[in-house]
């Protein structure tokens, strides 16, 4: 298991390659890479600021990954989340899960993303032509997480 919270960009290809590397029982890796869009709540987003709660972030992500491991066959998993200042098209999050079973890799990866979105202490502030504003949580993210119960 690997968790990184960092301002720097990440190399998604290298992270994919490292997942389950050296294990010939890994059948597949499911991964998700989130990118900053130029439209979210507002049109014309020019920048994004990511705040987090340092003392809690890694712990929250670790608990989410452990919950996924209890539920599905997870041979290896990586979560990377960027913080600080980002701009449209920047990578913001990487979640990757290696498993012996394809269905487990997909489910665990999507579960981690859905829980990260609703349980991990990150907050986005968008910059647009009209100024800055904090992004509101979306009910659709909450219902995506609820369906795993």
């Amino acid at each position: 298991m690997k968790i990184l919270i960092q301002e720097a960009d990440f190399d998604a290809g290298a992270e994919l390659a490292a997942l389950g590397a050296g294990s010939a029982t890994v059948g597949g890796i499911a991964c998700f890479v989130g990118r900053v869009r130029d439209l979210n709540e507002s049109q014309g987003v020019t920048g994004l600021f990511l705040e987090h709660y340092p003392a809690m972030t890694t712990r929250a992500l670790s608990e989410i990954m452990e919950a996924a491991s209890r539920r599905w066959q997870v041979q290896d998993a990586t979560v990377i989340h960027r913080v600080g200042h980002l701009k449209p098209m920047d990578q913001i999050v990487f979640v990757g899960v290696a498993s012996c079973h394809r269905g487990d890799a997909f489910a665990a990866c999507e579960f981690i993303m859905d829980y990260l979105k609703t349980r991990a202490p990150f907050w986005k502030k968008e910059t647009t032509r009209d100024g800055e504003h904090w992004v509101d949580a979306r009910a659709s993210d909450e219902s995506a997480a609820e369906r795993w119960k």
Binding site: L116, K117, P121, W123
Partner: protein, 85 residues
């Protein structure tokens, strides 16, 4: 007893501070008692520390509910619903 309280994101800006130490009466307390005390400050606190504010809580870095007990030295975080990912 004392607890450290942290505020994040929109809430941090609304209350104008990142963190403070708050003294609560007695040896044991609760999230509900802490929020009561914050609301009594009036102004933005009336809304932000309301039971139905929509803000979330964590005690010692774990998500927590209103009835969570508090002990001396606990770290309490209050923040808007998260929006990462």
């Amino acid at each position: 007893m004392k607890v450290r309280v942290l505020y994040f994101a929109r809430l941090r800006e609304a209350v104008g501070m990142e963190t403070e130490v708050i003294e609560l009466p007695g040896d044991k307390s609760s999230i509900a008692a802490l929020l009561d005390l914050l609301r009594m400050r009036g102004g933005v606190w009336g809304k932000e520390a309301a039971v139905d504010s929509g803000n979330r809580l964590a005690v010692n870095q774990q998500l927590a509910g209103m009835i969570t007990p508090l002990q001396d030295g606990d770290e309490v975080a209050i923040f808007p619903p998260v929006t990462g990912g």
